[in-house]
Amino acid sequence: MSETTDRSLLLRGITKSYETGAGGSKTVLEGIDLHIGPGELVVLLGANGSGKSTTLKIASGMIAPTAGEVQIGRTDITQMRGETRRQSRMKLGMVFQDARLIRRRSVLSNVLCGTLGRHQNIATALGFLPQSERPLAMACLERVGLGALAGQRASTLSGGQAQRVSVARALAQKPSVILADEPVASLDPESAEEVMTLLTTVARNERLAVLCVLHQIDLARRHATRLIGLKKGHIAFDLPASEVTDTMISTLYTRDAP
């Protein structure tokens, strides 16, 4: 396991249960331990309902775990509230299934929106985007290969381009960790390959920890440094991509006999 640095993500003993009414509860995640070091792109695999999205939501702070802790670098973000929680969120860049851009704004403005967390001042409250971050935003756009489209309205982009802009927006946050929730689910194979290559490059070159939920096994095998298989809320395997066999993967998707 890699050492804990500022650019790493650690989930320790994560359990998540939901109340089902009449005093009952359903556990969707139990005792999840995982660590992603800088430069690693780790893919979470598993059937629907295995707990992949819940893991990602807990890692991002969107939902709180019933037990366990989430650490970005050496900071435990699980118990954080208010301003400190908002500050800690900035260390997490999110890439969603859909790009979630402000469609009526330009590509550059969308990337600059990723820097707003660092600029809580009157100028941004009055509608001005932080101009001091323009070089960084342009550099992020160049990094995803879309510098030429900076002035274009976001609504005119293709699905693949929009997703690359959302990666640029995440990079503009200067994150320690990137969480990607099915980032290629709505893309054609060519665009999917482009986005995954981009995430791999970002993880390697920027030395970021990237945790990605994917359903495309072949893409996961090609791009991940490690694969984590989830089944019924437990980790079934956590191995380098080259060591994961087809049988291991197929057991994730087969239903157990009742």
């Binding site: 900035m90 999110m94 707003l116 967390g117 660092r118 809580q120 509608g127 959302s166 946050q173």
Partner: protein, 272 residues
């Protein structure tokens, strides 16, 4: 090539007949009910083709006395024309400003507190429910004749209409990009300024232009109850049997309405 047997199943004929019968019965029953409702409405509102035919002569007589329009009155009607346009402009602008907080406070996606939301929605409902003509009558009584009561009534009615439509627009907007901004560390004010406003403004501006279009027509009618402008001039001309002046005013109204309608629709198309 195989042949497809398209004969109906042995008992399908009976099913068809019974469905046809019940459908026909419902259709005729519905038509008869609708006819009855319309007939009683016509009776209550004293719709009478005989009266229309008898009155047609008088309408032709009035039209005859209204042409040609009295062009000599044209210079003296510029003032009321400008007043009508100004009533619509200022009424729409101030109404839109008042509508903004009402729309924001009425939207479920922005205001989780049900008490505040219900209060804002009640105000919006009241402003919309009372017709602008009634508001004008109230304000004419309160502040006297002239354009000001017309402006006040348009402000309130516009605030009600835009408040409701704006709230619906906010509730219908895609919140996912806003969630992404929040997760990136933006605070609530930044999300509103940089996420919600840019998304809503073009549509909201389109709505305001549409309202301006409507308000121009409303401001003409408001003149009939003493709220100034061309409407007041038209009411006076008809009351004094000055039909040639009335026809001139109607022509002017037509031209203004067409100009505002065409330009607002062109701007709205560019915005969307």
């Amino acid at each position: 090539m195989t042949r497809t047997d398209i004969r109906p199943a042995p008992d399908s004929g009976n099913i068809m007949v019974s469905r046809f019968s019940s459908g026909t019965f419902l259709g005729w029953g519905g038509a008869a009910t609708l006819l009855f409702i319309l007939a009683q409405a016509a009776h209550n509102t004293q719709v009478s083709p005989t009266n229309l035919i008898t009155g047609a002569g008088r309408i032709v007589d009035i039209v005859g006395r209204a042409v040609p329009p009295d062009w000599s009155q044209l210079p003296s009607e510029w003032g009321p024309t400008r007043e009508t346009i100004d009533i619509a402009l200022i009424g729409t602008a101030l109404g839109a400003i008042l509508a903004c907080p009402l729309a924001l406070l009425s939207a479920r996606t922005l205001v989780p507190n049900p008490v505040i939301r219900m209060l804002a929605r009640s105000i919006v409902a009241l402003l919309r429910a009372v017709p602008d003509l009634v508001w004008a009558l109230i304000f004419v009584t309160a502040v006297g004749l002239g354009p000001f009561p017309g402006v006040l009534s348009l402000i309130l009615h516009t605030a009600g209409m835009l408040g409701r439509l704006g709230a619906e627009m906010i509730e219908d907007m895609d919140v996912m990009p806003l969630e992404a901004m929040e997760l990136a560390g933006a605070n609530r004010l930044q999300i509103f300024i940089h996420g919600i406003l840019p998304t809503l403004m073009p549509s909201m501006f389109g709505l305001i232009l549409y309202r301006l279009d409507e308000n121009l027509r409303c401001s003409l009618v408001l003149g009939f109850v003493g709220a100034g402008g061309l409407g007041f001039q038209l009411f006076t001309a008809i009351s004094l049997f000055q039909y040639r002046t009335a026809s001139l005013l109607l022509l002017m109204i037509l031209v203004i309405v067409l100009i505002v309608e065409t330009s607002s629709s062109a701007i709205r198309k560019r915005l969307m």
